[in-house]
Amino acid sequence: MENLNVFAAKLAPQQEFLAGGHRACQGCAELLAVRLVAKTLGHDYIIANATGCLEIVTSSYPHSAWKVPWIHVAFENAAAVASGVEAAVKVLQRKGRYPVDRKITIVAQAGDGGTVDIGLQALSGALERGHDMIYICYDNEAYMNTGIQRSSSTPYGATTTTSPAGKADPLGQHTMKKNIVEIAAAHNIPYVATASPSYPFDLMNKVKKAAETPGPAYIHCFVPCPTGWRMAPNLAVSIGRIAVESKVFPLYEIENGEYRMTVTHKKHRPVIDYLKPQGRFRHLNEAQINQIQEQVDKSYERLLKKVKMSELELD
């Protein structure tokens, strides 16, 4: 296997496989992440895309931003469509009937809604069947394409258009963010990781690793959405960094069941640094913020325990 720790700014591929001129909002970190993934995977990959912002902003006929083969069928089935593409390329290559005999990476990509809610069944099916593909969830923590409605990936305390904070209900979203990373890992697939375009080389390394791992890989990519999070577009990258620095969105990977932090900090920032710039958390009072801090600390501790367990096992 190639050395994976190679990505550095000057070594990153120059070529673009996602064209500019698409219709994403200013400061959209989803498209930023996608561009980095596309650079990493290069020429020989095929995408099955779910309905959502990413599909809408890149594929308004007759203008496509995709320089790689791309198919969109529906909202909840990207994992199933990708399964089909993977199975077909494999069988046609075996029969000598596919026009390309190089290894082709198959990628399913969807938003959080298309992954953790409506697409969960198709995702679980694809992971369980063991297709050699990468599933990437671009998590902007709500249904952005349809106007910022809640998903089960929306964090506790965030307002969305269907989890508004009001007089009778001052909190906003009542439920804790669904832990889809653990759900993916529970399928015993060889590679699971979290990633963020605010840490581009970490993201690119993970994508490369996922592509080189035979079998299914799941990458959960945290993509700040200035429009839906009600914040200035120029904050998209920095808020992604703060999410990691405040333990809100830790960067780690699970390789064959072993947990490993890929980005660590000696000191962590308080969650208020993360919550404050975002309009979706503006209504929260001190008690609620403290509660969120406790939740964040707790789930980070839980994660660290798993990392420690893995270190012991590996020793």
């Binding site: 083969p69 529906a74 089935n77 199933a80 469509v81 089909g84 077909a88 069988v91 099916g125 069947r129």
Partner: protein, 392 residues
């Protein structure tokens, strides 16, 4: 000539799929479709068929996986029934829009509720407007023949549309019938390897399934309907070639002892065989002027051929095996009425619904349908539809 083999119709269909050398199969089990895909998975496991068999977690994913395999250039097959077809419904619409020539057997079964595993046509009627070519088989031999022909029709570059081959659940799927199988070399000569028009391929990247803004959506839909309508000519072409090669002749609209008949029955699917017996009795014993017309092609609707087949009769009794709730007639009858509307000398059209959820339709039922239709025609009775054999 190939010899005749007694085999369950579901297995005969699987053999056709094997002989078509499909590349990919994705399916989810549902009665009465199960025997088809069980047999196919055996054929794959035994290396008799070199294909990817993808045992998905739902029919929605079955059709979605098929979209992926077909878009990547694989000859693709699936099968389902009833609730499974309903669950696929969202994706069914997208397949023809993407011009993916998937072949699907539908072992027709009633839709819930109440839940019923038995045969009628409510499942395919729910998928009527999805843009698939829909063909009906009346017996096992037809199911086998039409399955083979479907790949050729669907994959023709003038068509590139999905096809459903409809077989009545249980009454066809689970019976053992004699089948004449075609030799593999002859199948290969008739059905060459699938050559996709476009496919997902990094050396020639395409974007499939893009957003249709208002400036292009209507054109896309009009194109789709034109292609579907034009596919009728290819269906006929393939039927003709098949007939010439193998001696079994198919028409989009079939007639049985219909020449000069004053009253015609119109049926679809395996009940046509019972209807033929009723016609024999009516003509030979009762000396009545009654014939039979069977629709083989349901979509695209073969208006011109239907018109030709019924011209000259006085009364046309249309049998439906599904209810179109709130509609002024059975789904087939409504199409027939609109085809014949305003046509000079058009017959009186009586709409009957029978055989829901596995209820038998007997020879006596057909005779009663003819009797009723003739007396309704006599008085020019204004009606929506009549249900046969229902306790009221």
């Amino acid at each position: 000539m190939a010899k005749r083999v007694g085999i369950e119709v579901s297995l005969a269909i699987s053999e056709a799929v094997k002989q078509a050398k499909v590349d990919a199969i994705a399916a989810y089990p549902i009665t009465p479709q199960t025997h088809i895909v069980e047999h196919l998975s055996e054929l794959v496991a035994d290396a008799e068929l070199d294909a990817a068999f993808i045992p998905v977690e739902s029919e929605h994913s079955a059709m979605s996986v098929c979209a992926g395999t077909a878009a990547a250039g694989a000859r693709t097959y699936t099968a389902t029934s009833s609730q499974g077809l309903a669950l696929m419904n969202e994706i069914l619409y997208i397949i023809p829009a993407l011009r993916l020539p998937i072949v699907m057997t539908i072992a027709n079964r009633a839709l819930s509720g109440p839940i019923s595993i038995w045969n009628d046509h409510s499942d395919i009627m729910g998928a009527r407007d999805t843009g698939w070519i829909a063909i009906f088989a009346e017996n096992g031999q037809e199911a086998y023949d039409l399955t083979l022909q479907s790949f050729k029709i669907a994959e023709d570059h003038r068509v590139l549309l999905p096809i459903s081959v409809n077989i009545d659940g249980f009454t066809l799927s689970h019976v053992i019938e004699p089948h004449e199988f075609i030799d593999q070399q002859e199948v290969d000569a008739f059905l060459p390897e699938y050559k996709p028009a476009v496919q997902l391929n990094p050396d020639q990247p395409v974007s499939m399934g893009m957003v249709g803004i208002p400036e292009v959506y209507a054109e896309a839909k009009k194109c789709q309907d034109e292609v579907l309508k034009n596919s009728e000519a290819v269906v006929k072409e393939v039927f003709r070639e098949f007939g010439e090669k193998f001696g079994r002749h198919y028409q989009v609209v079939e007639s049985y002892r219909a020449e000069g008949a004053e009253t015609l029955l119109l049926t679809m699917g395996s009940v046509s065989e019972t209807a033929m017996e009723a016609i024999d009795r009516l003509q030979d014993v009762e000396k009545r002027s009654v014939g039979l017309v069977r629709l083989r092609l349901w979509r695209p609707f073969p208006s011109a051929d239907l018109l030709k087949a019924v011209t000259g009769c006085k009364t046309l009794a249309v049998l439906d095996r599904a209810v179109s709730f709130g509609s002024p007639g059975g789904p087939v009858a409504s199409e027939v009425r609109s085809t014949l509307y305003g046509v000079d000398g058009a017959p009186y059209i009586a709409s009957f619904i029978a055989g829901l959820g596995g209820r038998d339709i007997t020879i006596a039922d057909f005779i009663s349908i003819v009797d009723q239709a003739e007396s309704m025609a006599e008085s020019n009775e204004n009606h929506q539809y009549k249900m046969i054999g229902v306790r009221e």
